[in-house]
């Protein structure tokens, strides 16, 4: 197996909360408040009873952070899998995710949590389709931008919104990883939210 040799780590945070005592202060942070679009309410979601920001807005915020990373570092610093991006809303203890990522093939996205599918997602339980919880993940810059740019894919349907009317955040992140041929795994597995 190809073991990655990471040499550059950047953090993308989507929040206006500035941690007074950051967990890791030797990795550069790109942060901005979550944009509020009031668009695509089907991508609002909750996890373990906690309401999350709309996934469209959250990922657009991370995409803007990603453009800032590009402006600062350019393509050769962000090429291949040499720059790892850590993604969350606020500062977070990423080390277990990074360790797993470093032991994984280059095309991997390590989400902080997966949950097994249920009736909620429209997939049958026997498939055991693991659903990524989209808030927190670690991957290369290349894969980070593929994932967070899905807000643009959503916007491409702005003149045919009925096409996405039955969609939700869980299916969207699952489809996106499949579409872009991304491997995903996690350090934590849980049962899905109750319907």
């Amino acid at each position: 197996m190809l073991i990655q040799n990471q040499s550059h780590i950047l953090i993308s945070l989507a929040s206006d909360i500035i941690e007074p005592h950051p967990i890791r202060n030797d990795w550069e942070v790109f942060q901005r408040p979550v944009v509020t679009s009031d668009k695509w309410p089907q991508y609002n979601y909750t996890f373990e009873g906690e309401p999350k920001p709309n996934l469209y807005d959250t990922y657009k915020t991370h995409w803007l952070n990603g453009i800032d990373m590009w402006k600062k570092y350019g393509q050769h610093a962000l090429a291949q899998n040499d720059t790892t991006v850590l993604v969350n809303d606020v500062d977070f203890f990423f080390s277990p995710l990074i360790d797993l990522y470093h032991d994984s093939p280059p095309n991997t996205v390590v989400f902080e949590r997966l949950w097994r599918s249920s009736r909620y997602s429209g997939y049958s339980l026997p498939a055991h389709t693991p659903h990524p919880v989209p808030d927190t993940f670690v991957t290369s810059y290349s894969n980070f931008m593929k994932i967070v740019s899905l807000w643009k894919w959503i916007d491409s349907h702005s003149n045919t919104p009925e096409l996405l009317s039955e969609d939700n955040a869980w299916l969207l992140i699952l489809r996106t990883t499949w579409k872009y041929n991304l491997i995903y795994t996690s350090t934590k597995w849980k049962e899905g939210p109750e319907v």
Binding site: N5, Q75, A77, Q80, P106, S149, W153, S156, K179
Partner: protein, 339 residues
């Protein structure tokens, strides 16, 4: 229930980004044609321009040997500051790009010993730079472009109405409907031509993935995603497991044509050939219509050696028939000879 109606998605193009990239070369001779070519009503058209600070001519082996005395066709000839300044001024004056830059190539020069792989990777770097200029502008202005087109400074597309007719041909297209449209459920499509259904120099390559990279359209986010994946094939400026040797061996694509199609395949980006065009309009690939008088859009690299006196005429003043005749009687033959 109608399967088509439920899955239909309508193409609606309001903002078009022309992403220009690569070396300027015969850009002076092409710019009036290109400017005229990209005129269309009812859409906003913006240019984004990245230009390289050197010249090469990989596909002109005979020309390199006879005219320049160069036998190593990987050899890049740096431009002097006056030339770079002149080219930059021409680009900014004529195309008035929303963003412009001279692409710094220091990362290329340390990897020149990679030979074959670096050649194709250089094209990727130029595409990436240009499309990321567009994305920076989108981020700064909170807009998105519905259509992105890759265009070289030294290439014209024939016939002169191809852009307008293809654009109007796909405008309002119902993607996902069964008949007469493009059968895909994802409207974020890319358009390009094939080099060939098979590579004539390689036996058994029928259906081998390849695309003509001289003129490429990407709807929605398709070219953005394409570029994010292309980053995997660009030399890293950081130390990594991808040493020069490993990278050279690991480069997965035969050439830029295969690269274009393979990245689309890996990212599951739907692709299509361009519609046929005439003054009357466009015919989409699966439409059943009389194709008499319709042409397939064809990008043409413009070189001064195609004219006996070495002087390129005013291309914008040439008729489509004149350009077609020139291509058939002279350009194609000289291209194949590496001149």
């Amino acid at each position: 229930m109608s399967l088509g109606m439920q899955n239909e998605s309508i193409i609606d193009i309001k903002n078009v980004a022309i992403c220009m990239y690569g070396q300027y070369r015969t850009g002076d001779a092409c710019l009036e044609y290109i400017k005229k070519f990209y005129q269309a009503t009812n859409v906003n058209i913006d240019f984004f321009c990245s230009v390289k600070e050197y010249e090469t001519s990989y596909t002109r082996l005979e020309y390199n040997k006879k005219t320049l005395g160069i036998t190593d066709h990987f050899d890049a000839r740096p431009l002097d500051n006056t030339t770079i300044e002149y080219q930059s001024n021409q680009i900014q004056t004529h195309y008035q790009p929303k963003k412009f830059e001279v692409y710094k190539t220091k990362n290329e020069s340390v990897l020149l010993d990679m030979k074959h792989s670096i050649l194709h990777s250089k094209v990727l770097m130029a595409w990436t730079e240009s499309i990321m200029l567009k994305q920076q502008y989108e981020a700064e202005n909170n807009i998105t472009y519905d259509l992105v087109i890759m265009q070289r400074y030294d290439v014209i597309v024939w016939p002169s109405f191809a852009f307008e007719k293809v654009l109007y041909g796909i405008q309002g297209l119902r993607v996902g409907d069964g008949g007469g449209t493009i059968p895909t459920s994802d409207k974020n499509i890319m358009f390009f031509e094939h080099i060939n259904a098979f590579r004539p120099e390689q036996i058994g390559s029928f259906m081998y993935p390849n695309g003509q990279d001289l003129w490429v359209w990407g709807l929605g986010n398709s070219l953005d995603v394409w570029v994010y994946e292309a980053l995997q094939h660009i030399p890293s400026g950081l130390s990594s497991n991808y040493t020069k040797k490993q990278y050279n061996y690991a480069y997965p694509h035969y050439d830029t044509h295969e690269m274009l199609a393979c990245i689309c395949n890996k990212m599951n980006i739907p692709t299509s050939r361009f519609p046929l065009v005439s003054e009357k309009g466009a015919i989409l690939p699966l439409q059943q219509r009389n194709t008499a008088g319709f042409k397939r859009p064809n990008p043409i690299v413009i070189r001064d050696s195609y004219w006996e006196d070495g002087v390129i005429p005013d291309l914008a003043a040439l008729s489509n028939d004149e350009i077609e005749q020139l291509y058939n009687t002279r350009i194609l033959e000289l291209w194949l000879k590496g001149i």
